[in-house]
Structure formats: C-alpha cells, structure tokens
C-alpha cells in the first residue's frame, strides 16, 4: 500500500493531534561490517523523513524513507564518507533534512546562543554576588535564628 501523496499528509494532519501514525518497525538492513552498520545507524537517525511530521529516517515507515535508507546504504557501500552522504542529501533537500542544524552564517546564532546565555548568566551572577557580598554587615552573624530551617551544620543541634 503505497500512499505517498501530499493528500495523505493532509489527511493525516486532519486526524488531529498526532500525525505520525504509521509507527512500526523498519525492515532491517544489515551492513557487511559492524563499523559500517554503526555509521549507517547514526546516519539514518540524523536525517529527517521528508514526508513525516517529525521523524527520522530510522523510525519512518513511509516508502520514501525506505528509498533514502537504500540510497544511504548504497553510498556507504560505495565508500562514501558520512560528510559526502550528508552533502548529497543537503544539496537535494536543503538543510531541512538534517536534524542537526549546520554551523553556517545563517544559523550561527543558534549554536552560539547557549554559550552567550551562559556567559550573560555568569556575568550577572558575578555582578549580583559582588554587590550582595558588600552588603553583608558585621552585625550579620551566623546565628540568625530566623534563617535556620534546620539544614545547617550539626553545630546548631548538638
């Protein structure tokens, strides 16, 4: 039962909430060596199934995904590198097909975001703590009863 058309996608979308329903195991592929098998597995997990809502080639039962897996297998057997295989698909389908966004001018901000956020956080923390540490007066003692919720050292209780 091949149903690859866009109408299918639309129909599925119309079925509300979940639109990746053909979840069943994929016809297994055996590569000649464990190393190739591992590369194959890694590759098929990294590509998006173009007809599905949010699935990798590894988990997609649609026949286009099967064709793509076959293509990947053939390229691996022909001695292509992972990067060559990725480039092959990106050249035809665009970066959309990769679950890992590339580090290029247009997407650099995405990869830099976590670091930048963390740096902003670190600077703010340093600023806040410096300011607050200066506010700790000599009258502030460790024996501030109101602060003890009992989690302090045993000194309080022994």
């Amino acid at each position: 039962m091949r149903r690859l058309s866009r109408t299918r996608t639309a129909l599925l979308a119309a079925l509300a909430l979940l639109a990746a329903p053909f979840a069943h195991a994929i016809a297994p592929t055996r590569m000649p060596t464990p190393a190739l098998q591992a590369r194959y597995e890694r590759l098929i997990h990294g590509f998006r199934c173009m007809q599905c809502q949010d699935e990798s080639l590894a988990n997609s039962p649609v026949s286009l995904a099967a064709d793509m897996r076959r293509q990947i297998r053939q390229m691996l057997l022909a001695g292509k590198t992972d990067q060559q295989i990725r480039n092959f698909f990106v050249a035809r389908y665009g970066y959309f097909i990769l679950f890992k966004p590339p580090f290029v001018a247009k997407t650099a901000w995405l990869w830099l975001a976590p670091g930048v956020l963390l740096a902003i956080g670190a600077v703010s923390a340093a600023w806040v703590i410096r300011r607050r540490a200066a506010l700790v007066g000599p009258e502030d003692t460790d024996e501030d009863e109101s602060l003890d919720d009992g989690l302090l050292g045993p000194g309080k209780h022994s």
Binding site: L17, A27, Y95, F96, K106, L135, L147
Partner: protein, 653 residues
C-alpha cells in the same frame, strides 16, 4: 438542546470572567469595596457556567450526538465509553474547553485559598485570573466553538485517533494542563503584587504552595506524556525534543527556577523582582507553548490542526496579557529593592546559580524551538532542529547545575560556608565518584566518560540529600515537611539522572527480520519468533506475533506485539509489547510482513528506563509533601489576623 445549553453557558462564563477581571482589578484600584466584594461571586458563577459547558460536551460525547461537529469528528459509536469521554480533549476545541475548565477549578481553589489574605490582594489575584479566563473563553467562543452543529448530521463519527485510545493518553492532557494552568495562579499572584506595587516575604510564602503544586502537576504531566510516547508511538523512544514536548518542558524549567527563587525571596526577602519575572515568564511560556501547538507554525508529531484565525487571536491575547504584565514589571520592579547581603558561598548564591543555569537551559530550548520559525519567517530557508542540537547544548547548563545541587542544599544562608558538613560532603563526593564509575564500567560494558559522570552525579545528589535527614533522625529531631519534600524531590532528581544516564548509555536496540522459529539476540536476551495469529478489537483488527524471550537459556517472558488496523480511520498502528525484567524494559515491536513467513521486528532493551518516570513521580511527590508544611498554614492564619485587624473587628480566628 444540550449543545445549545453548553454554548449558552460558555457565553455566560465569558461575561462573568469579564466581570471578575473588571471587579478584581478595578475594584481595589478605585477603592470601590462593593466591586471588590463582587469578585468571589463572579468566580463562583464563572466556575458553574464553565462546568456546565464541560458537562454538556461530555454528555454529547457519551450520547454519540453526531449532530455536533466536534463529536462527529472525534468520536464514533464503536468507541468504548471511556474513550468517548477522553475524546472530549482529543482535539483542539475540546482540549481548549478542558483548559478553561481546569483554569476555572484553579481559580475556585485560589478563591478559597486567598479568603484569609488581605481583601484587596485576594481580589487582584482573582482579577488577573479572570483576565486570563476571559481571553481563553473569548478565544473558544470566537474561533473554536466545540458546540457547532452539523447539518445534515453524519450517520457515524470519524472516530478518535487510535494513538489516543490509551489510558495513559486519556489522563495525559488533564494532568499536563493542570500544571500549565496552575502556573497562571503564580502569575496572578505576581500580577497582584505588581498591581499593588508591593512585595514582601509574606507574598513569597503565600505564592510558594501554588507555584510548587503547579510544578508538581506539570512534572507528572510531562512524565506521563513521555511514558505514553514510549509505549504507543511504537519504536520505544521516550523523549524526542519534539517541538510540542519542548513547549511543555520550557514552562517546567522556568517553574523549577521559580520555586527555588521563591525560597530565597521567602527566607531573605531577596531576588524580589527576579522572582516576579520568573512567575510572569513561567506562565508566558505556557501561553507561548499553547500558541506554538495550536497555531500551526511548527511541524510536530503532536500539533493540532490549525486554522488561520486561531494563531492570530492567541498571539494577540498573549501579546496583550504578557505585554501588560511586563510593562507593569518595568514600572514597578525598580522600586522592589532589598538591601540584604550574602556571601559567595551562601545558599543564596547557589540558588542564584540554579536559577541562572535553569533559565539558560530554558533559553537554549527556546532558541532551538524558535530557530525553524525564525529561519522560515526571515526567509533564510527551512531548518530542522533535533536531538543533535538539544542533547549537547542542554548538557552545557545541566551538568554544572546537577553538580551544584548538593552544595546548594548544604550551604548556609547569608554568610555561607558548609560548617562541619564540608568534610562529609567531600567524603560523599569521593564515594559517589567511586560508585558512579563502578556502576558505569562494572555493570555495563562499553561505558563512556559521560556515563560515568552522569552516574556519579546521580549518586552524589541521592546520597548528599540523605545527609541531613539521617543527621536529624540520629538526633531525634523532627523533619519539617518542607525539608522532607525538598529531600525527596532531590532524591528523585538523583534517581532520574542515574536512570537517564543508564538508558542513554546502555540501550540495546536493533531491527531484525525473523522467520517463524528463528531467534535473534539483543541486549543479553534471546528473542524467538513463534508465528503470528489474527487479533480482533472493538474497532480494530490485526495480527499479533508470539515472541519468546529467554536469558541464558531460561525463559523470561512470552510477548505479543501487535500490528493493528483501525477500520474507521484506516490507520495502521503498532502496539508494541513491553516486559519489565530486573529494571530493564524489554520492548518488542512488530514491523512489516516481509513475505514468505518473514517479519521485521524492533527489539529494544532499555536498562532502568522505568525509573525515569518513577523518578519524575518522586520529584512531584516531594513538591506535594513540601506544600503541606505547617508554615504555610501558619502563614495563612497570620495573614488572617492581619486582615481581620484591618477590617476592625472582623471574625476572630
């Protein structure tokens, strides 16, 4: 007749919510006591109307009233009663009504919970909640009315999406929404403080139970969703960094930051404006999540079908609501300064790190979530952001966060330091590293450094959480509920980290083809395929395979993975078989018929995966225990005294 009644109730609820917002916000502002006094009746009325509307929709589903479009689209006469009820929230309009119903429940609870708080403050809280209800009710009535009739009616309904015909999923939206919506109460408390322009430690004490309970529900909801995805989506994954999962995860991260920040505000009167901001952002993110799921801007396995007007409406509502709150924040927050101090090694500092790291993590997820939308919107081409982005970037903030948890738990307030806990902590850290490495390299083969680090962190958090309770037990000192709750939640976190590391590092998974009688090994087990037989369900038919699982020649389980065809929807669904053996989940999914007696299977052995969900439940339980602490009840009676004093001779306690 019943759908019309529901529709009528919905419109009345809209009007009452509008009054609730008007009285609650304008009453105290203009000093009109009669307005202020009318808020609680408006809340009660709105609740009754929303409950009526909800009851009408449920009745239409139970009665198979296919003259109602929403019922016809999401139910079917062959559907068992249980799923007919669950079908209410099976699609957009009904789930929105569920959302509104839960909001009405929370509002009612907040009305009771704030009875003893100062009158004006309580009215403002309910007023803000009224504004939220008003927005959602208007949204439902204008764009997503579930009571629209069909003319002519259909002979039978289209049925419920088979993937949703599952007890786990039936319970998932109510739980998740309870958490989502619960954040609106914390938001309303923040809104009331902003409207009043005053925030003290009492405020934090009043807000904490609400924030914590919403967080606990959210935790359970996310865990249940993940469990559901694991066993119904058929291929044994439990977290995909799917846009919709992220939409529920972001408010959770923000909520987690909020409950920690509230602790500092309550104890020290510090981080006031920051806590307010977190309360606003937590709810904002649940609104943004709702928008993302329902507006059709993203591609996800879970998203609802969208129609154009819905997105615009939600975005406008979101912009007005959050914009107003943040504008108020920009105006009021600078005046909410505190002059209290603390040292670098004080608990305040660690909670600050906690907040910064959680917000960074949330920001990272948000960046990944928004990137495809931004890229598309700015014409930079289409982009996918999946696990290869989220996994590593999320760890950047999570690893330090987890490492710091035990230090934060044992640092002293204000002047800092660990007292004589310092040595104990060092010993625990060394022991954890030993146990972690032993577990990673000893129990499993092929462990990586990250596995050892993850297991060490998990053990480090679990053991150090126990230091204080053990010390108390030895000295026969009572453990306050708040401390007990925190301890339990942190132990849950430790178990979670340990289990997740184990699953990530040591899952064995493969797709195999087997002929009847053939066996395949996976993860130390052997799987023998013994043939297929037909199965018949109420609204589906299909095949079922018999697979015998053995370990070292000894039988472990007989498993029956199914492949079902749902007639009504013409959908083929894999119903995988799961067996739990010594903490490992064995999953067998039946794939395609490859011809001449061969079938494809997915075999998966995930060690400790069950503990991921159990750990989440433990965390949630910790939260619930913490809010039963005496201090919150005392806080309320104290506030009551203050309130009655203000009323000059109000009722005595």
């Amino acid at each position: 007749m019943i759908p019309e009644l529901g529709q009528f109730a919905l419109i009345l609820a809209l009007l009452l919510a509008g009054l609730q917002a008007l009285f609650g916000i304008a009453g105290p502002a203009l000093g009109r006591d009669r307005w202020t006094a009318a808020v609680v009746p408006a809340v009660a009325g709105q609740f009754v109307m929303v409950a009526t509307a909800m009851g009408c929709l449920v009745t239409s589903f139970i009665d198979n009233d296919f003259t109602v479009r929403y019922v016809a689209e999401n139910s079917n006469s062959a559907l068992p009663l249980f799923y007919r009820v669950a079908g209410v929230w099976g699609a957009h309009s009904g789930s929105l009504l569920l959302w509104i119903f839960l909001l009405a429940c929370w509002t009612l609870a907040a009305a009771f919970g704030t009875l003893r708080l100062p009158r004006n403050f309580a009215a403002r809280v309910l007023g803000v909640l009224g504004a939220v209800s008003f927005g959602f009710l208007l949204y439902t009535v204008v764009t997503s009315n579930p009571f629209l009739r069909l003319d002519p009616p259909w002979a039978d309904g289209m049925g419920l999406n088979p993937l949703l015909q599952d007890p786990g999923l039936a319970a998932h939206p109510p739980l998740l929404y309870t958490g989502y919506v619960g954040l609106s109460v914390a938001f309303a408390f923040a809104g009331a403080a902003l409207l009043e322009g005053r925030l003290d430690r009492e405020w934090a004490r009043w807000t904490r139970p609400w924030a914590t309970s919403a967080w606990a529900f959210l935790t359970c909801g996310i865990a249940l969703g993940s469990w559901w995805a694991y066993y119904t989506l058929g291929w044994g994954g439990f977290w995909f960094w799917d846009p919709v999962e992220n939409a529920s995860f972001m408010p959770w991260l923000m909520g987690t930051a909020l409950i920690h920040s509230l602790a500092v505000t309550e104890k020290r009167g510090l981080f006031k404006s920051w806590t307010l901001l977190l309360a606003v952002l937590g709810f904002s993110l649940s609104l943004v999540g709702t928008f993302l799921v329902r507006s059709g801007v993203l591609i996800s396995v879970h998203s609802f079908v969208s129609s154009p007007g819905r997105g615009e409406f939600l975005l406008t509502f979101l912009g007005i609501m959050i914009g107003a709150a943040l504008a108020l924040y920009a105006w009021r927050a600078p005046k909410m300064q505190s002059e209290a101090g603390f040292e670098l090694s004080a608990r305040e500092s660690f909670l600050l790190f906690n907040n910064i790291l959680l917000v960074t993590a949330c920001g990272t997820v948000f960046a990944g979530e928004m990137a495809p939308i931004i890229s598309n919107a700015l014409g930079l081409g289409k982009l996918s952001v999946g696990p290869p982005y989220f996994d590593p970037t999320f760890l950047i903030s999570m690893l330090p966060l987890l490492a710091l948890v035990p230090l934060g738990m044992h640092a002293r307030w204000k002047r800092g330091g660990f007292g004589d806990r310092g040595r104990t902590l060092l010993i625990v850290l060394a022991a954890s590293a030993l146990i972690g490495c032993a577990a990673a390299f000893g129990l499993y083969t092929g462990a990586g450094v990250l596995s050892a680090v993850g297991m060490t962190l998990g053990v480090w958090i679990i053991i150090s959480s126990l230091i204080d309770p053990i010390a108390r037990l030895r000295r026969r000192i009572a453990i306050p509920r708040a401390v007990l709750g925190m301890t339990i939640a942190h132990i849950g976190l430790g178990i979670f980290v340990f289990a997740l590391t184990s699953v990530q590092g040591f899952t064995a998974e493969q797709d195999v083809a087997m002929r009847t009688g053939m066996s395949a090994p996976d993860g130390g087990y052997s799987f023998q395929f013994q043939g297929t037989q037909p199965v018949h369900g109420p609204d589906y038919g299909g095949v079922e395979a018999r697979v015998i699982v053995t370990r070292d020649g000894k039988p472990v389980a007989v498993m029956y993975p199914q492949k079902r065809t749902y007639w009504v929807q013409h959908m083929i669904i894999t119903h995988s078989a799961i067996f739990i053996n010594h903490g490992s989940n064995i999953l067998v999914a039946l794939g395609q018929d490859l011809g001449d007696g061969r079938w494809s299977f997915r075999l998966q052995v995930r060690p400790l995966v069950l503990y991921i969900w159990i750990a989440a439940l433990i965390m949630a339980a910790g939260g619930i225990i913490a809010i039963t602490d005496r201090r919150y009840r005392i806080a309320q009676s104290a506030a009551e005294e203050e309130a009655s004093a203000a009323l000059a001779g109000g009722e005595a306690r």
